[in-house]
Amino acid sequence: MAGNTLIEVNGLVNRFGDHSVHKGLDLALNGGEILGVVGGSGTGKSVLLRSIVGLHEPNAGRITLAGTPLDHRGAPDFRLTQRTGVLFQRGALYSSLTLCENIALPLREQAQLRKTDAEALALTRLRLAGLEAQTARLYPESLSGGMVKRAALARALALDPDLLFLDEPTAGLDPISAAAFDELILTLRNALGLTVFLVTHDLDTLHRVCDRVAVLGEGHVMAIGPVEEVATTDDDWIRAYFHGARGRAALRQSSNNRENA
């Protein structure tokens, strides 16, 4: 599956009032890769994600998911929503349902499984995301930040998607939990053959997880490619981002890892 283009974005335009977030943005996501999307605040990372998932209707442009053009007007297309899983920034777990019910809901409603089957699969998803069976009957409000992210990931995986959208998965996590979450994403990608669209600010995540990085700015993709390549791009923001104090630390860390490996 690797190598072919799974998502294609052409000439995407998004305006909010007079402010243009995207001015004809082009982007391609290949099957099986993890693409990290970075950019300063207000460069439209989340809007891009929401446009591709179909939650936000762009002012202009064309988005193709696995060869099917995306129709923002009609009802959500089951064939597409089944193939995509979304991890929202703050988890967006349904607060009136237990974790098990959160994950079982799409299985029962979309895949039309019986309750016991859906719960058995929900348990597998929880375990895949690194949560214990005892958490299944808890409500989201009693979970820690890291557990919320894991549970939300488990829900995103509910319908066995091949395309995963992650909106700042490690934001708000302590470094150890964040590193564990990075490993989890890598493991699942390798095991399940996922394609991942990853919006993040976390430099460590970029270096550890992403095959390619796209930098958004001025309404376009300013640079796209492997991290090391993008980091050498001649642009003030990119230089400040990758070669600031935090960027240098992450760079050192990742080259150390490579030497040890």
């Binding site: 058995a120 597998t124 009957r137 066995d160």
Partner: protein, 373 residues
């Protein structure tokens, strides 16, 4: 990537080896489940080379069939499994190894019904204690800021007076006008049987001056304002804004609660005056048109109602106002972080404030009757 048929389990010629073929994916889950259920005992050997497509749902079923640890061994040792399938099977088998069982859902038996009744009772007692404590806190805070004019927050007060008082005028006036008309119809029907339909005016006048002007206004504000206070303060609490105030050494009761309470205490008597006028207008309209009472008589009757009846109504207004505002704010403070919690406390604040208003009104009616007002 061509869609193959749903997965099958074939028994090989030796009668002991099972061969899995076809698609083992979520869309075929029902069929696959029947296939695996049909095998009562675990097979001595399982060959997975023939599987076309596999996802975690299919892998879970295979793990249930032979056990997670054995599935992992099979995936590791079989040479002909596709590498992608091998990685998936191992990951799912690892996830399911020692995963324990799903804890049972909480039971809802008759015993639990009793337990919930008990909990509701202790909960109500706790709520009452908390409310009394909060009333004390608000009064102390009010007394403290009364003596320091620097702490009078006029802009917040005016803002809340506008949103709870001025903006409520149309709904209060319309509702009481309608209730006044209904009471006049009622009076005309019942009193007409005794040839006393002219007393319809007295019925409307006494009931609105004494009771309904204040009571209907208080009920409208309990629905409109208490819920707004709870939702606003609850959302602030969820966003940790109240904690931020406390962390800066500011008192949320003084900044957020006091202006609201004061605004309602000032506006409810004014609104209930409007309510009385609108109710009299509604009743008067029916009396003039349906019962054919002449206008001068209408005015005379109303002007001859003793003042203490109106005072008996009006004196209740500040108490109702205080309780409505305090309950609304307290429920907001109690609301937790989730959307569900804010919703539950908003409902609770409306129910509690309407309950308290009607209860207090009934007690006041008995009291004023006894002292002969």
């Amino acid at each position: 990537m061509a869609s193959a048929e749903p997965g099958q389990l074939r028994t090989a010629e030796d009668g002991e080896t099972l061969q899995a073929t076809g698609d083992w994916t979520l869309p075929h889950y029902g069929a696959l489940r029947r296939v695996t259920k049909a095998r009562s005992s675990a097979p001595s050997q399982l060959i997975l080379d023939g599987i076309q497509r596999l996802d975690t749902a299919g892998a879970t079923l295979l793990a249930e069939l032979v056990g997670a640890e054995r599935l992992r061994r099979i995936a590791e040792t079989s040479p002909d499994i596709a590498p992608a399938h091998r990685a998936l099977l191992i990951t799912v088998a690892d996830a399911m190894t020692g995963c324990g069982v799903l804890p049972p859902e909480p039971r809802r038996g008759p015993l639990e019904l009793l337990a919930r009744m008990g909990l509701a009772l202790t909960d109500a007692a706790g709520k009452a204690r908390l409310l009394i404590g909060f009333i004390g806190a608000v009064l102390v805070c009010a007394g403290r800021s009364l003596v320091t004019p620097r702490r009078w927050r006029f802009s917040a007060l005016l803002h809340h007076m506008e949103s709870t008082g001025l903006n409520a005028v149309p709904i209060v006036a319309l509702l009481t006008f309608a209730v006044g008309a209904v009471i006049a119809y009622l009076g005309a029907t019942v009193l007409g049987q005794f040839g006393a339909s002219v007393y319809t005016i007295n019925l409307v006048a006494y009931s609105f001056l004494r009771e309904f002007g204040v009571l209907i206004t208080a009920i409208v504000l309990a629905g409109r304002t208490a819920s707004a206070f709870t939702a606003h303060l609850g959302a602030m609490n969820a966003n940790e804004e109240l904690d931020a105030l406390r962390a800066q050494g500011l008192d949320p009761v003084e900044l957020e609660v006091l202006p609201r309470v004061l605004a309602v205490v000032l506006m409810l008597p004014l609104l209930s005056f409007i309510a009385v006028l609108a109710g009299l207008a509604g009743g008067g309209l029916i009396a003039l048109t349906v019962v054919d009472v002449p206008l001068p008589l209408f005015i005379t009757v109303i002007s001859e109602v003793p003042l203490n009846h109106y005072l008996a109504g009006l004196v209740k207004a500040p108490f109702f106002a205080f309780l409505i505002a305090v309950i609304g704010c307290l429920e907001g403070f109690k609301a937790g972080g989730s959307a569900r919690s804010v919703g539950a406390h908003t409902t609770s604040s409306v129910v509690q404030s309407i309950f308290v208003v009607i209860l207090l009104d009934a007690l006041a009616a008995m009291y004023f009757m006894e002292i002969g007002w």
